[in-house]
């Protein structure tokens, strides 16, 4: 072979050596393409240490309602408030009760919507089921297992409670579904209302047994949280005796008390307090809230829009605040003057409502007409200014920069309360009044609320009916803007009345310097509610389409 051929052959060899290193035998060829993804964890490692399992649980806590990020809070679905802008669900769907199985939607927030979406809740429930199943089967420490599983059983019951209130009886699924191994049994039919109730309360009772009285880390479920939820579910189902007992159990735990400052309770400085039972925590800029710039007064100093004005309290709500002498405004002896409506009202009014002439974020807010105020009541549905002449104050923090920074970055840090001790007292009072009548314990519970609000005690000797009325008014005022009112109207059976009429705002005009106050009907205040079917929401058509065992709620 001459040298040139030798060179060529050597070159050939080189190429084939190179190629054969790339392509060797088939199996190793296959293996040579293996890559382990860098951003995921396998089943094995998740459930072998408590710290990794906790990371999974963290995500379930994240599924709880993100109440400080709603621009159309759920109170807008009730008679407490109207949204200041018209493209939201409370205006397009709830107002006229136009939800159908195909159109039912639950958005209303920056990141998440209301906690009543069918399939989202089942996603959360699945995560709970996975956690419970996997942790139970793991070899993790028994103490860890007991406490964490109890937490997750509580969380799962919470999600079921949301489904149950919205849709009635729902399929109860307690294990992770698996299409390959479970066959057709993944298609669950709906359980009845009673079965679902039974499941939730039983689970909560069991969870309460294992949960600590004080959680090692705030924000986690506790015994008090489980019992409070149980007492609420019992109340919702009109199980008054059971509810009274459960709520009394929470009272008797002796760890909760009312925070002295009602307005301050909802501010970040008081996040740690003795009243909060179960709540969502926020960290500004990281996982912060935006409610301040979504739901408060629209225009502030200089006419700049620092909030969307998402919550405009109705005249109906405002009228339910007592005078500071503890009397209702309809009481002729209360001293209420319809032409000076904001004088001498009870403290919670001033802590909850922004009204014409009150102060907010370095500015006096004028909702009156004719002075060119940007916040003038917006009866022509022209902009985001109030529809009713009022704005929300409670729970909103005007001590941070309002406006775009809060919208974009979530700069507020106050808690959003799912349950606080005032709930327990009011739940107890109502349940006990219904089960037994207005006994001393009922007075005691309601009066604690009133005393914190610097109001005189209820008049002794009220009838059961009168007490019921008093409790309901107290409840509406105390829990305003906390997402409770809609469900109260449903369970009291008065949604067909309260949500099926025209809601009002206040038109304020000035004649020769004298202000004149006139209730007016407002855009978005024309409410419709068909009590024959709207008590429950329709099950989404997509869910019905995918599971022939599901039956639709009546009327849809």
């Amino acid at each position: 072979m001459n040298p040139k051929n030798l060179k060529n052959s050597a070159f050939c060899m080189l190429i084939f050596v190179m190629l054969s290193t790339i392509f060797s035998c088939k199996k190793s060829l296959d293996q040579s393409l293996s890559i382990t993804p860098h951003n995921s964890v396998t089943d094995l490692s998740v459930w072998s240490s408590t710290s990794t399992a906790d990371v999974f649980l963290n995500s379930i806590y994240g599924y709880l309602p993100d109440g400080n990020n709603w621009y159309d809070p759920f109170d807008n679905w009730s008679d407490n408030s109207i949204c200041g802008f018209s493209w939201v669900l409370s205006r397009t769907q709830a107002q006229q009760s136009t939800q159908t199985p195909s159109t039912l939607a639950w958005w209303g927030g920056w990141t998440t919507g209301y906690p009543y979406d069918w399939s989202s809740n089942y996603n959360y429930i699945r995560a709970c089921n996975v956690f419970i199943t996997k942790v139970a089967a793991s070899s993790l420490d028994t103490g860890y297992k007991r406490e964490r599983i109890a937490e997750v059983r509580f969380l799962r019951a919470y999600f079921y409670q949301n489904l149950w209130m919205a849709y009635g009886g729902v399929p109860i699924i307690t294990v992770p579904l698996d299409a390959t191994s479970q066959g057709d049994s993944i298609f669950h039919a709906r359980n009845t209302w009673a079965e679902t109730y039974q499941f939730i309360t039983t689970e909560l009772a069991a969870a309460a047994e294992d949960l600590p009285i004080n959680a090692a880390e705030s924000g986690r479920a506790t015994k008090g949280a489980a019992l409070t939820l149980k007492g609420w579910v019992e109340l919702f189902d009109h199980q008054y005796t059971a509810s009274a007992a459960t709520n009394m159990e929470v009272v008797n735990m002796g760890v909760y008390s009312l925070f002295p400052d009602y307005g301050g309770l909802f501010m970040p400085a008081n996040n740690v307090n003795s009243e909060g039972i179960f709540y969502r925590e926020y960290i500004p800029n990281v996982l912060g809230g935006r409610a301040d710039s979504f739901d408060g007064p629209t225009f502030t100093a200089g006419g700049s829009e620092t909030s969307w004005g998402g919550v405009n309290p109705t005249q109906e709500l405002v009228d339910d605040y007592d005078m500071d002498n503890g009397k209702t405004i309809s009481d002729p002896t209360s001293g209420y003057n319809p032409q000076k409506p904001y004088v001498n009202r009870e403290p919670r009014f001033y802590q909850s409502i922004v009204y014409d002439g009150s102060y907010w974020y370095n500015d006096t807010i004028y909702t009156r007409q004719g002075i060119g105020s940007p916040n003038e009541i917006d009866l022509s549905d022209h902009n985001d200014a109030t529809q009713t002449g009022y704005y929300q104050r409670k729970g909103l923090n005007d001590k941070i920069t309002l406006g775009a920074d809060n919208w974009n970055n979530g700069t507020s840090g106050q808690n959003y309360y799912y349950f606080r001790y005032a709930d327990v007292l009011l739940n107890y009072a109502e349940a006990q009044n219904e089960a037994v009548g207005p006994d001393g314990s009922v007075y005691n519970a309601v009066n604690q609320i009133r005393e914190r609000a610097q109001l005189p005690d209820l008049t002794p000797g009220l009838s059961q009916d009168a007490m019921r009325t008093a409790i309901r008014r107290e409840r509406r005022v105390e829990l305003a803007f906390e997402g409770k009112r809609y469900w109260d109207l449903i369970r009291w059976g008065i949604a067909g009345t309260n949500l099926n009429r025209q809601l009002h705002g206040i038109a304020i005009t000035s004649t020769n310097g004298v202000l004149n106050y006139a209730p007016v009907t407002v855009p978005g205040g024309d409410r419709k509610f068909d009590a024959s079917k709207n008590i429950l929401f329709p099950i989404p058509q997509s869910a019905i389409d995918q599971n022939k065992n599901l039956t639709q709620n009546p009327g849809y």
Binding site: K26, V41, F56, P523, Q541
Partner: protein, 1054 residues
């Protein structure tokens, strides 16, 4: 070394000396260093005088005449004459000129020479770039279209993807934005064949790479591989078609220096018009009337809007127009050097492009450097080294273009956009003017470096056998979320500095303009992101080509391995107290600091083959394919085989045609069938796992990490399969007077990935991993017709027409009973993305209502609140039992429009040249596409376009828009046929009028040629949509519009 350069340029005029010193020594000396291993030249002793003529006898100017085997060469002058010294009678001259075949002449004893060059444009001898090689066009059996580099270079566009449309068949495209740096077209080869990723594979010089930001002047050709036979060598990457880009290489000849430059002025193709303040206020009052609400604007206010007497209290702004600049600049400069000898050829290019945006802070700059050296290291060894690098700088305001347009569209004319002193105002707490000028910036820099080296070795012991090894290392950052996106903007490093957007109010009492608030963050924030991706590709080729009598055999085997590694890292801080955007200057508070990072990896191994046999230049058969393996899938499911077969028959070579129809220069029928694949979904779907994410919840006032179940694994998941068939006809009649190509194609895609959501209840709680179950077909045809005629030496004219039609159909998809069970709503059997909605009948009139305003009995009930005259009325098409049920429900939904992707794309390009002038036009159109218009007056407190004035009133029953309301009603904004707009269009896409300065003039300047031109892009548009560009990519119209560009340019050859 210096001597060589001097030798090469010593004949240059002194006037240009400075120029050469500046540009050459500094920038291109590198190229000459690469050439330094071949620098010999011989002594001369004999002078040859010659002339170079074309076939028609006219002189060819600027033609390169080289002494073969040396670097010595001269160029022909304005009369085609040249003078060169040769050493002896054995010397051989090589004469070459762009567009002509190279000629070699032995000098012999002659001292006078006449060289006649033959044109290269005989299409039959053209060599076409195909997968992993080249083929003679006459022996092609597959469906391939080509675009010449010069067609791309002559268009004033920044992004190459915008140069393809209308140029060749098979390219369906939509340009969705005009934003510098992001204005590329979405290109689909033969339309859409899948519900998954539709992007074609893009190959630049043999390696998968992004092509859109290459310097157009350095592109030699673009080849579109369309049918099974053409794409088979790309296996898993081929199903959506393949775009092959070949960059320019040097040619034998004296060094040629080319300078190209243009400057252009850009404006939106359509400037969307809005109502003015008076119209806005009147319109709003009319809406209040319909609501029964008090007027929002008093007569006094209306008067003020009309007479503009108090502009700060009662402003009247033309928002978009005031925000946008007009005649923004687009400039490009490019300098190429090319040349070569027998042993070494080189091409080097330097490019610069700058494109300004609609507003100051937006611009794009690109710097390209290309160098390509091909050398014969030995007589049988060829080495090719190419380096192609670029730097891209994109600069934008801190607020995205989408947000700027969103805010511009919603800011009504009577909002204080800016005050009379120039300060920005705000609307709903957002400042449209401040968004642009005060929001900070986002600046991204992309670095791309494409390196490759190949060594080809002939193996003389078997004739026709050669081997080649190629290795490439690319530093080629990509879009991490869509690695196959050929138009993904290249980002290596981005910096984002967001500042408070302060806005102001007018206080009429004090006549001052206090700052009243801010949009954007309360304090500045800054973040950086690094993206880095490396791609390693190794290819080993075994090539065999030989002829045996009338038989011709080609065999090719390529083994390829490719892997990529990507790392992404980002960090940021908020709440800056120091206004200098560096990470270190940010807040030290731990909750103000964030960072993230992750990495990705891919691997692929493949074997490619092609066997081609032809007999007598008449009959052709070819088999090609790829055995392809990919890391996406489970062990045992990683390798697939994708074969294709094709055949061709050149009838024109048959006696019965040659004898009877001599006007048929070429006639070939060809057909192909084969399989290719496509990666779909995402990697690792075969694994069951948990995904890690940050900021899951807050516990104990500390943010926590979370773990989430990913969707349930599917261990059997695999690629999409495409079965493609194509039949084509190529004809060349009357010696090139008419050329025609026709193709019919059919593709069936199977194993498309679908999430089988409908097979589990919605209570299941987690997504199932996708399964390979979808099926879809796509068919269509393509026609190309071309003619060109030379009427005289001075006058030549040509016309090319191409037409592509591609229509797809979903054959099997997961569909819910609700849509599948209703023949009107069934997606299966219809084109992908068919638009569905209610069928609008028109407006309600007062005749539809009783005296109380209630709908008359018998009128179907519409469930979206109370309706009034002037609201849109929908057809009760069907009901739960398939019959009209008196209610408008989803059962009444029907198909209402075509998808937005056009089914038809065509191009018509006439050209004419007379003496030094030439005019080339490209008309381009699209058909069978619909635009869904969701532009509603006052939607979420937005402004209103000028069209909104044509709203329904009892006196304007035929209005375009329904009765005006302060917020569009749920009833009127239902998805319905009312809002479907015909999206077909016809455009003068490109036009160029050029003048080549006569050579007699140029000779005195010692230049070969100079061409000056006036050129444009998107020059004229005819469309049914008047207030937007027809390619409008957002149903609300809130997007960065396509641009019209008018340029003047210069191209000079030295």
């Amino acid at each position: 070394m210096k001597k060589v350069i001097k030798t090469n340029f010593k004949k240059r005029p002194n006037t240009h000396g400075l120029f050469y010193k500046g540009i050459f020594y500094k920038n291109l000396v590198v190229i000459f260093l690469l050439l330094s291993f071949h620098t010999s030249f011989s002594q001369s002793n004999k002078e040859i005088n010659g002339v170079v003529l074309g076939e028609d006898g006219s002189p060819i100017v600027g033609c390169s005449v080289m002494l073969k085997g040396s670097s010595k060469g001269v160029t022909s002058d304005s009369q085609g004459k040249f003078r060169i010294e040769v050493s002896n009678a054995k010397s051989v001259l090589q004469v070459s000129y762009v567009g002509y075949q190279i000629q070699e002449l032995a000098v012999g004893q002659r001292t006078e020479l006449t060289v006649t060059l033959k044109k290269e444009n005989s299409t039959l001898s053209d060599v076409v770039v195909v997968g992993y090689g080249t083929q003679k066009k006459s022996s092609l059996t597959s469906a391939i279209s080509t675009i010449k580099g010069q067609d791309m270079a002559s268009q004033p566009v920044a992004d190459l993807s915008n140069s393809l449309g209308g140029r060749a068949t098979g390219i369906i495209f939509t340009q969705g934005s005009g934003e510098p740096g992001y204005d590329g077209s979405n290109i689909l080869i033969r339309g859409i064949g899948t519900t998954g990723n539709t992007q074609p594979l893009v190959i630049v010089d043999g390696i998968p790479r992004n092509f859109t930001q290459l310097d157009p002047n350095t592109v030699a050709s673009v080849t579109i591989l369309k049918d099974a036979a053409a794409v088979a060598p790309y296996g898993l990457g081929g199903a959506n078609g393949v775009i092959l880009i070949t960059t320019k290489k040097g040619k034998i000849g004296t060094p040629t220096l080319t300078y190209n430059s243009y400057v252009g002025w850009q404006n939106p193709t359509v400037q969307t018009k809005f109502v003015n303040a008076y119209q806005y206020a009147t319109l709003f009052n009319a809406a209040d009337d319909n609501l029964g609400a008090p007027h929002a604007y008093s007569d006094y206010a209306l008067q003020k809007y009309k007479d503009h007497s108090a502009p700060d209290l009662y402003p009247d702004h033309n928002v978009l127009k005031e925000l946008e600049n007009t005649n923004t600049l687009l400039t490009s400069h490019n300098l190429d050097l090319s040349g070569g000898t027998e042993k070494i050829k080189y091409f080097a290019g330097l490019g610069f492009l700058s494109q300004d945006g609609l507003w100051g802070p937006t611009n794009y700059k690109r710097y390209n450097l290309t160098s390509n050296v091909e050398a014969d290291a030995t007589k049988t060894t060829k080495v090719n080294i190419s380096i192609n690098g670029r730097v891209e700088d994109r600069h934008f305001p801190g607020v995205s273009a989408g947000s700027i347009f969103y805010q511009a569209f919603r800011t009504p004319p009577n909002a204080p956009l800016t005050f009379s002193n120039g300060l920005p105002g705000s609307y709903i707490g957002r400042s449209a003017a401040g968004n642009i000028s005060e929001s900070g910036y986002t600046q991204t820099t992309g670095y791309t470096l494409l390196n490759q080296i190949s060594i080809e070795q002939q193996l003389p012991f078997i004739k026709g056998l050669s081997v080649k090894a190629l290795a490439s290392y690319d530093y080629n950052p990509f879009n991490a979320t869509n690695p196959t996106d050929p138009t993904a903007p290249i980002i290596s490093f981005s910096r984002t500095w967001l500042t408070p957007i302060y806005f102001y109010a007018y206080d009429s009492a004090t006549n001052t303009y206090p700052q009243v608030g801010n949009d954007g963050p309360a304090k500045p924030q800054y973040s950086e992101e690094y993206l880095q991706s490396q791609a390693f590709t190794y290819q080993g080729y075994i090539n065999y080509h030989n002829s045996f009598g009338k038989s011709d055999l080609t065999a090719l085997i390529v083994l390829e391995a490719r892997n990529t590694k990507t790392s992404i890292f980002g960090a940021g801080r908020v709440n800056y107290n120091i206004g200098v955007p560096e990470l270190n200057n940010g807040s030290a508070n731990s909750t103000d600091i964030s960072n993230y990072g992750y990495s990705l990896e891919t691997k692929q191994k493949s074997a490619v083959y092609r066997l081609a046999y032809s007999y007598n230049g008449k009959y052709f058969v070819e088999a090609s394919g790829r055995y392809d393996g990919n890391y996406y899938f489970a062990p045992g499911h990683r390798f697939g085989f994708f074969p294709a077969f094709s055949a061709g028959w050149r009838l024109s070579e048959e006696k019965f045609i040659k004898d009877n129809a001599s006007w048929i220069t070429n006639l070939k029928i060809r057909g192909s069938v084969g399989q290719s694949g496509a990666l779909a979904g995402s990697a690792f779907q075969y694994l069951s796992s948990y995904n890690v994410f940050g900021n899951a919840s807050v516990l104990n006032y500390t943010s926590t990490q979370g773990l989430m179940e990913s969707s349930q694994a599917n261990p059997n998941i695999t690629w999409e399969r495409a079965k493609k068939k194509d039949i084509g006809l190529d004809a060349d009649l009357w010696d090139g007077l008419l050329t025609a190509e026709f193709d019919y194609f059919y593709e069936k895609r199977t194993d498309m990935l679908f999430a089988p959501t409908v097979t589990v209840p919605s209570e299941y709680g987690i997504g199932l991993s996708q399964v390979n179950s979808g099926e879809m077909s796509n068919h269509g045809f393509e026609v190309t017709l071309g003619t060109s005629h030379k009427f005289s030496n001075d006058l030549q004219a040509g016309l090319n027409v191409n037409y592509t039609f591609a229509s797809n159909k979903l054959l099997q998809v997961f569909e819910t009973a609700a849509t599948y069970g209703n023949p009107n709503r069934r997606i299966t059997g219809r084109p992908l993305n068919t638009q569905f909605g209610y069928k609008a009948l028109g407006y309600y009139t007062s005749a539809d209502f009783d005296a109380n305003g209630n709908l008359l009995p018998g009128e179907p009930v519409q469930p979206w609140g109370t309706v009034h005259p002037g609201d849109i009325k929908y057809s009760d098409v069907s009901g739960p039992n398939g019959k009209p049920d008196g209610q408008i429900t989803p059962d009444d939904i029907v198909p209402i429009g075509h998808p937005s992707t056009p089914e038809i794309i065509y191009g018509i390009s006439p050209s004419i040249s007379y003496k030094g002038f030439d005019l080339t036009l490209l008309f381009q159109g699209a058909g069978n596409r619909d635009f869904y218009e969701g532009v509603y007056a006052f939607d979420n407190s937005s402004s209103a376009t000028i069209d909104a004035l044509d709203y329904w009133t009892p006196n304007n029953l035929k209005a375009t828009y329904p009765r005006i309301t302060t917020q569009p009603t749920t009833n009127n904004t239902q998805v319905s046929s009312w809002w479907i707009r015909n999206g077909s269009y016809f455009r003068l896409k490109t036009g160029q009028l050029a003048y080549t300065i006569p050579t007699s003039v140029m000779r005195n300047l010692h230049m070969h040629s100079v061409r000056i031109y006036l050129s444009g892009q998107n020059i004229l548009t005819w469309s049914h949509i008047k207030n937007f560009d027809p390619e409008v990519s957002s149903s609300t119209g809130q997007y960065y519009p396509q641009q019209k560009v008018i340029t003047v340019g210069l191209s000079a050859n030295f």
